[in-house]
Symmetry: C2
Subunit: 226 residues, 2 copies
């Protein structure tokens, strides 16, 4: 079993506040998991009873809407924790987590984490700050969905993917989403998303090669996103 003390990823999450003793204990009670691309980590409504620490890979957090379509609420990558909100609220998870690429995650049972809240104030504050960050992001996202056009939202989403997850050697976006997934981030029909991507391509803003998307004119995209 790998040691949490030596895990680099830990340094980027709220867990960085843990003491040596706490880390040793954590190593014993955590379980490591490999999640294949497309596999579900947990599903909306489930009782998770702990949190997942993402060691590697990217996943989407989705919610099923009344019309039967999934909406992607957030993308989460290594160094972040999953299931914090549900654990703190003592409720089933509100979102499903599905791997967008192969992932390595560690599961930490609730009993262990709740102990940190009692004894380690720095950890509590880190978690609080992380959830506060999520809340700000969610509020901002909400306003965008309510007030911006689909075109603006698409431009913004492409820039977000670029800035947050970076690009491959061939300059294409590192996170590879299907058109369907991209549409469910910006909240539109798949066809509308495809059509706008084609428009962007014709305008020379992006380049499309299969699933690969290269941002050619970032400034123009920024202007489009307002």
């Amino acid at each position: 079993m790998s040691k949490c003390e030596q895990c680099i990823v830990r340094e980027f999450s709220s867990l960085k506040a843990l003491t040596k003793d706490e880390l040793l204990k954590l190593s014993d009670c955590k379980t490591s998991h490999i999640i294949k691309k497309g596999e579900v980590i947990f599903e909306e409504g489930e009782n998770v009873n702990g949190i997942y620490c993402i060691k590697d890979g990217i996943c989407k957090l989705t919610k099923l809407s009344a019309n039967g379509k999934d909406h992607i609420v957030k993308l989460v990558t290594k160094g972040e924790l999953l299931g914090q909100r549900s654990m703190i609220s003592d409720e089933p998870v509100n979102l499903s987590a599905v791997a967008l690429e192969d992932m390595q995650v560690c599961f930490i049972p609730k009993s262990e984490v709740m102990g940190y809240f009692d004894k380690n104030n720095q950890f509590s504050m880190n978690v609080m700050r992380s959830i506060c960050g999520d809340l700000k992001e969610a509020d901002d996202h909400m306003v965008n969905l309510a007030q911006k056009t689909v075109k603006e939202r698409l431009a913004e989403a492409l820039l977000y993917l670029h800035d947050t997850f970076g690009e491959n050697d061939d300059k294409s976006l590192k996170v590879q989403l299907s058109r369907d997934e991209l549409a469910s981030i910006i909240g539109t029909a798949t066809e509308s998303c495809i059509r706008l991507l084609s428009d962007f391509k014709k305008l020379g803003l992006i380049e499309l090669t299969g699933k690969k998307i290269v941002l050619k004119d970032i400034n123009a995209l920024k202007k489009l996103a307002e």
Copy 2:
């Protein structure tokens, strides 16, 4: 100066976890304020340096979008705290707070509240749970904005206002919003909102008398909201 120990509203907020000693100290450092309808409590981008506890009244939390329109992110009423996220993240506030009716609020300086986080774990957990609740609400709201039609969102908003803030003696919704404000909750143009309200009226779902809105057929509205 009124005593926090005797304030009933306190019991409904995270502050219920405070000890007698903490409450006595709180009474000394808090300041009470009357906010008139339409007045601003704080504005997006401001440094608030503390939190507001709402003793009476309702306010809207809004965010200015790129197109110059305000979007109402949330309505907040007595017993709730304002500015928690900003204080914890140590950032300017992300949203503006504007009174929808005359309000009584108390301001508690940051220095005081941060002390509770250190010494009172129950208080920390209460704040965390409250922010987690906001996050869940925001995620849900986001999916609605992305996936539901304006009509569905209007029906939902009316039901939300009814369930959350109740009705007056004449059965009309207690929170009186302008058409413009209602539109900026559901994320649509004012005219579209007015038009749909007229449609709902013609269908016998609601009754309109000036600004007053009475829900006549709650079940039908629920069906419309899906």
